[in-house]
């Protein structure tokens, strides 16, 4: 990799100096990084600036003086409760997405012909991008008290409303989220399964390992890092989902994104913008805790498996 890099950069600089000496002369000056300047400036304006503004303003009270009180409020109810709910939703939704998703990916790899693989890949790609408001209404219509899904389950003897279930609840959200979480899992976990070589199975068998031993000592240990990385990504996706939750819950579950949305709508008499910024920072910190290990594992596993 390193050799490849130096060789090609030497080649390209050599060629470019030959073709156009203007860029060649500037190779070690500012002109060298000029071409990535538009992208960097774009991200500075539309990404880093907004995030740093949130960070700074979370430390201000309504008069603009420095305070810790916005952050301290996060550790008190109802905000502590909202963080607890959001993290719990993230973890449970990641589990209900990761386990079935991994099973589907494994089964497709085991029994799937090429056509089945293609169909599953397309359907997953489509469903993974289906989120938001339409998804919420689709579930409401199908699983509402009068919905076709509810009625046909009732005809089969399963009365989902018999036990006080409602879609407008924590578990309702978990079910709805699984509609995009499972497909995301299938997409991101399939490459890890595909990378398992048939030869490893054959080699273990020729050394006398049973099927169980193969999975216990080879298959699962290889897949575990990818599984954890996928789990973390699913956690982040459910933890910060806003649109579906907003359309589904009419204020009966308190989740951090929904509270931020309400605080920033500005309908409140007391100005609580700064509290909203502190809540946003809280979300960023939790997301960072989940996503940084994800990125590290991703980088490592992609090196092992390819």
């Amino acid at each position: 990799m390193a050799e490849d890099l130096t060789l090609s950069s030497q080649l390209s600089s050599f060629k470019v100096t030959g073709a156009n000496s203007r860029t060649g002369y500037l190779r070690n000056g500012i002109g060298d990084i000029l071409p990535i300047a538009p992208l960097v400036i774009f991200l500075l304006v539309f990404f880093l600036w907004p995030i740093s503004a949130v960070f700074v303003n979370a430390f201000k009270d309504n008069d603009g003086t420095f305070t810790w009180s916005n952050y301290l409020l996060l550790f008190q109810d109802p905000y502590r409760r909202a963080f607890y709910n959001s993290v719990r939703l993230g973890i449970i939704s990641a589990l209900t997405g990761a386990i079935p998703g991994a099973l589907i990916a494994l089964i497709i790899e085991k029994i799937g012909g090429n056509r089945l693989k293609k169909i599953v890949a397309s359907v997953s790609g489509v469903l993974a991008n289906t989120g938001g408001v339409p998804l919420a209404f689709m579930f409401l219509a199908a699983f509402g008290p009068e919905g076709l899904a509810t009625l046909s389950l009732k005809a089969l003897g399963i009365d989902i409303y018999g036990h006080g279930f409602t879609l407008f609840s924590f578990w309702g959200l978990v079910i709805i989220y699984s509609y995009f979480q499972i497909p995301i899992m299938v997409i991101i976990f399939s490459p890890a399964i595909e990378a398992i070589r048939k030869e490893w199975h054959d080699a273990s068998q020729s050394l006398g390992a049973s099927n169980y031993q193969y999975w216990r000592f080879i298959g699962i240990p290889i897949l575990i890092p990818s599984f954890i990385a996928s789990f973390l990504l699913l956690f982040a996706s459910a933890f910060s989902a806003f649109a579906t939750a907003r359309a589904m819950t009419v204020g009966n579950i308190s989740l951090v994104p929904l509270i931020i949305g309400t605080l920033l709508d500005g309908n409140l008499t007391v100005n609580q913008f700064n509290l909203g910024y502190a809540l946003a920072m809280g979300m960023i910190i939790i997301a960072l805790i989940a996503m940084i290990p994800y990125l590290i594992i991703q980088r490592k596993t992609s090196r092992w498996l390819h």
Binding site: F47, V54, I107, I108, S122, G125, A243, F273
Partner: protein, 259 residues
């Protein structure tokens, strides 16, 4: 890769499992489609709710707004990302890692937090244009568009081709349009598609920055007419799926032809 060896019985269980998954995928959609065709009662069906959609003034208005926003997002993505990633592959390989890390950041930060920051920090003259949403969608799509273009350019020896073009006197824009674009056309399509899909369905930014786009209108319309909102959701989902489906199949066909 070759399928791993399995016993007949596990294979049967696997098939049953897949069929169950298929039913679970279809059930909500069929349920919602049936619900949207109802008229008053449980038994009478008509396209009443679908006719209602077209009677709404805001339907075409918000749809047009969303299309304009996504068009601008596509243009910005193209002109920002293609030259940058191409340069990184041709001359700037040293900075490839740095830019890769930079473009992955939007994936880490929750959208709600970024929207909060955008509403707080960006000056009024930027926020007074609906195209601020385009800019934010470019940022949101960047982890995916960068990766798509990066993978598309790997191993294509762009440096040699570009050096050849320059020695023949080609200008930078003809290099981008006539050399780089055709080579990585598939990756460009993929990133355009991602950007469009994201722009068409995005709700959080539009809601928090107080713009009336198609998704936010659906949420508002639902409060007045739940049948109509279901009809809207079903048609929005179906058209999005149709688009995505045709794309993935087109994409695979191309791939097979290339082999």
């Amino acid at each position: 890769m070759a399928p791993l060896r399995t016993k007949k019985s596990t294979s049967l269980i696997a098939r049953v499992f897949l069929v169950c998954v298929g039913i679970l995928v279809c059930l909500p959609l069929i349920g919602a489609a049936e619900f949207s065709l109802r008229e008053g009662g449980r038994t009478k069906h008509s396209f009443h709710a679908y006719r209602w959609i077209f009677e709404q003034e805001d339907f075409s208005k918000t749809l047009l707004t969303t299309l304009q926003i996504s068009l601008v997002a596509v243009f910005v993505t193209f002109f920002l990302m293609v030259p940058t990633v191409a340069w990184l592959h041709i001359q700037g390989k040293r900075y490839l890692r740095f830019v890769e890390v930079l473009t992955v950041l939007p994936l880490i930060i929750p959208v709600v937090a970024l929207a909060t920051g955008a509403a707080l920090a960006l000056p009024a003259w930027i926020q007074s244009s609906k195209y601020i949403l385009s800019m934010m969608y470019v940022v949101l799509a960047m982890p995916f568009t960068f990766r798509a273009l990066d993978i598309g350019m790997r191993g294509r020896q762009l440096d040699i081709l570009v050096a050849a073009a320059r020695s023949l006197g080609a200008k930078w824009w003809s290099i981008i349009f006539m050399i780089i674009t055709p080579i990585i056309l598939k990756s460009i399509f993929a990133s355009i598609f991602l950007t469009v899909a994201l722009s068409l369905g995005e709700f959080t930014f539009a809601q928090l920055l107080h713009w009336s786009t198609f998704p936010t209108w659906v949420a508002v319309a639902a409060q007045g007419n739940i049948l109509g909102a279901t009809a809207l959701s079903v048609s929005a989902l179906l058209s999005a799926w149709l688009l995505l489906f045709s794309f993935t199949f087109f994409d695979r066909k191309k791939q097979n032809e290339a082999k």
